[in-house]
Symmetry: C2
Subunit: 449 residues, 2 copies
């Protein structure tokens, strides 16, 4: 949608809201629809081609408004998470469908998804061990529980461990910054021999630092054999899996118990919208279920409906699936794929520019929209380069540390980015680099003199 259509549609929406407020006394306080009403009114998959804004607004009036905030809010979320799961070709077990045991939920952030998965896993292993040995206290078990993630995993995994009160061990990643079978297996054996209880593994697809991918096809079978909960965090990279040519990066997800990525990062849905799926939703609801009278409702034991409050940390919820519905329909799957592909192509274009300049090096394989690069030379030199780039405020780069090397990260992430922007950015970086190298040369010359 360009700015001029945005003006027109935005103003129509303002009128829609004002009309709603002016006519609110004529509306019923509680909807007439029955639980499950929505699924049959909506296609089972996202459209391939873009639809018009009018078509979507018509459906809002016809499908959403009769279901008010509830149950429409819950039911659209379940169906949108199925749409998105199918776009990713997630295994059937993760979908809610009509009678599935799995399903998806919108969390606020990947941090919360990781924490929810860890807590569900903690509850599951605790109950399992207590069933076999009823004399074991929760604390006695928690003392021995160990969670694992690659040394490249996001800090939110460590935070989840802190909050959950369990120890987290970092598995050394390989030369491509990936967690591999051997390193994980070694840690598991060592910990089991020491009397500890491994219970939870986070595999990252697309790490924050350099967009590396843990080897799911190696790690998954180990988790399966050892009975460990496998959570797959693809916060950034997950959006790319809607393209068939990137879907192989998700292979092995069939071994996972939970999977998460952020459509708010790279799928044009506004913050916040973190998509999480589980294979067995009773694992989540079992960990959090509490039912005071003021939250009871007539359908709660029917099995017909989903109580998302048992899937998450907060009680209250927003109607975030509307954002997904609008975006998926306005772009169509093809439009979203084209968007991802364009970003990846631009990243490769930037990579090619860097490789043409012998003063620079590429520091990690470029798979999606992130390019890790640096000047050949010291960390100090690269810190100076970053400082000069970010001080100029024409572009903004966020660095990372890869095996103690200070690395610059060029991330393609704007909705409106074009090749010309990438070229301009590269010219700018080269200018800044030249100045930094010149200054370094002068400094060296001074020392020599």
């Amino acid at each position: 949608m360009n700015a001029s259509e945005f003006r027109r549609r935005g103003k129509e929406m303002v009128d829609y809201m004002a009309d709603y407020l002016e006519g609110i006394e004529g509306r019923q306080v509680f909807p007439d629809v029955c639980p499950g009403y929505l699924r049959s009114l909506i296609p089972t998959t996202a459209p391939q081609e873009p639809e018009t804004f009018e078509a979507i607004i018509e459906d809002v009036e016809k499908i959403i408004m009769p279901g008010a905030a509830s149950p429409a809010c819950t039911e659209l979320e379940t169906v949108m998470m199925d749409w998105l799961g199918k776009m990713l070709q997630l295994p059937e077990a993760f979908l809610a469908g009509e009678a599935g045991e799995g399903g998806g939920v919108i969390q606020g952030t990947a941090s919360e998804a990781t924490l929810v998965a860890l807590l569900a896993a903690r509850t599951k292993v605790t109950r399992h061990l207590q069933a076999a040995s009823p004399e074991l206290t929760q604390a006695a078990i928690m003392e021995k529980l160990v969670a694992y993630a690659s040394d490249q995993a996001h800090s939110s995994v460590e935070k989840a461990g802190l909050i959950g009160g369990v120890r987290l061990k970092a598995i050394p990643s390989d030369g491509k910054f990936a967690m591999r079978a051997s390193a994980l297996q070694e840690a598991l054996e060592r910990d089991k021999a020491a009397g500890l209880i491994p219970f939870f593994v986070v595999a990252t697809l697309g790490t924050t630092s350099c967009c590396s991918f843990d080897n799911l096809l190696e790690v998954g079978p180990i988790c399966h054999e050892e009975g460990l909960w496998l959570h797959v965090d693809a916060a950034y990279a997950g959006s790319a899996f809607i393209c068939p040519e990137f879907r192989h990066l998700l292979n092995g997800v069939e071994f996972a118990d939970s999977f998460n990525f952020n459509p708010h990062k790279w799928l044009l849905v506004n913050f916040d919208c973190s998509a999480m799926w589980v294979k067995k939703r009773t694992d989540l609801t079992g960990a959090f279920r509490l039912d005071p009278v003021y939250l009871r409702h007539s359908h709660q034991d029917s099995g017909l409906i989903t109580d998302y409050r048992h899937w998450q940390l907060p009680l209250g919820r927003r109607f975030r699936s509307l954002k997904m519905w609008f975006v998926f329909r306005m772009y169509g799957v093809k439009g979203l794929q084209a968007y991802i592909r364009k970003h990846v192509q631009l990243a490769h274009a930037f990579e090619a520019l860097v490789r043409q300049d012998a003063r620079f090096e590429i520091c990690a394989e470029v798979t999606l929209g992130l390019v890790c690069f640096r000047l050949k030379g010291s960390n100090k030199l690269n810190e100076a380069l970053l400082e000069s780039i970010n001080s100029a405020k024409k572009i903004h780069l966020v660095p990372c540390s890869l095996r103690d090397r200070f690395v610059l990260r060029f991330a393609i992430c704007s909705r409106t980015v074009e090749l010309a922007h990438v070229q301009l950015a590269w010219e700018h970086i080269r200018e800044m680099a030249a100045a930094v190298l010149r200054a370094q040369g002068e400094e060296k010359a001074e020392i020599k003199n």
Copy 2:
């Protein structure tokens, strides 16, 4: 703002956004402002009288846009939480000010605030005990930790205990559904004698069931003497404390370590916006602090800025303080006070109507906007009444259970509610009650025959 002004202002905002998008390439990618720039540009307290929409939008352009998303998002939040804290006459220690040790943060929901407080308290007591006895493991300590809340506390407190892996004990409330000193003291003595470690107390001001108030002036000093973290949850009632005549309900908050209420419940700020304050912000940041390279910034050790990511569960944040800024300025403190007072008056008006009808009884003291009532008679009768009211869909009531009595709750909570609505609702309830009583009479007569 009425619907016609909403139409005009809403459309102006749509144009503002479209202009922003169209002109985005002319903007700098990183702001020029220095940390702390915002506080001096904004008054130190909320205005008493309403301001115009134009004045606020002018300030958005002048004060917010130059600070972009960051640091404006963080700094406006700190100042708004100070404004709100002053509106409530919170003790100085809870305010951030220029150099305070406390401060406020916007959480998503009261559930998250309770959990964050519990986790901070858990970390604090664990470190304290480990400092004295370094051989103690975290698990050995957690096994003995006990949190307390009234038997009327919200289910989110129990959920926080589940997530935090500590036991939570319910303190029997008194005849007015309040937690009192004697019952708390008894539980503490019993648990300490059993070798357990009390560490955390949640006092509720305005319970969900019947809006009862724990006795903070009794509970506070006990927590203080025993070195327990006191968290005060005033999720619903907190908004009322901006009125001097209700402020006494908050007396005793000076003993608390953390305090929380939801402006999204009753202060005209849209969901979500849960306001939480702590006296020592290092208690929060100490529990959650993790600093990977990609989240580092040049000011992080300066003490000048607030990293809210260490105050909460998620990493990402939205710019929710804008909602507060707009609402506080458009209503002014006096407008917000008038809004609260009107709701309380309407609740008393409903209470008076109920008291005039001898078939009904009031079930708990009416302090703010909630009236708990029921037909004199069995739970079954009242369940039938609720069922008939909610099936008619003219009004909607959520029930509760008070000492095993099924109770109906009439909550004044709409922005546009007037006395006429309350009167209509009462007439409707009387009609439904008459039908239910008639049916019961007929049933009894049938049994007799």
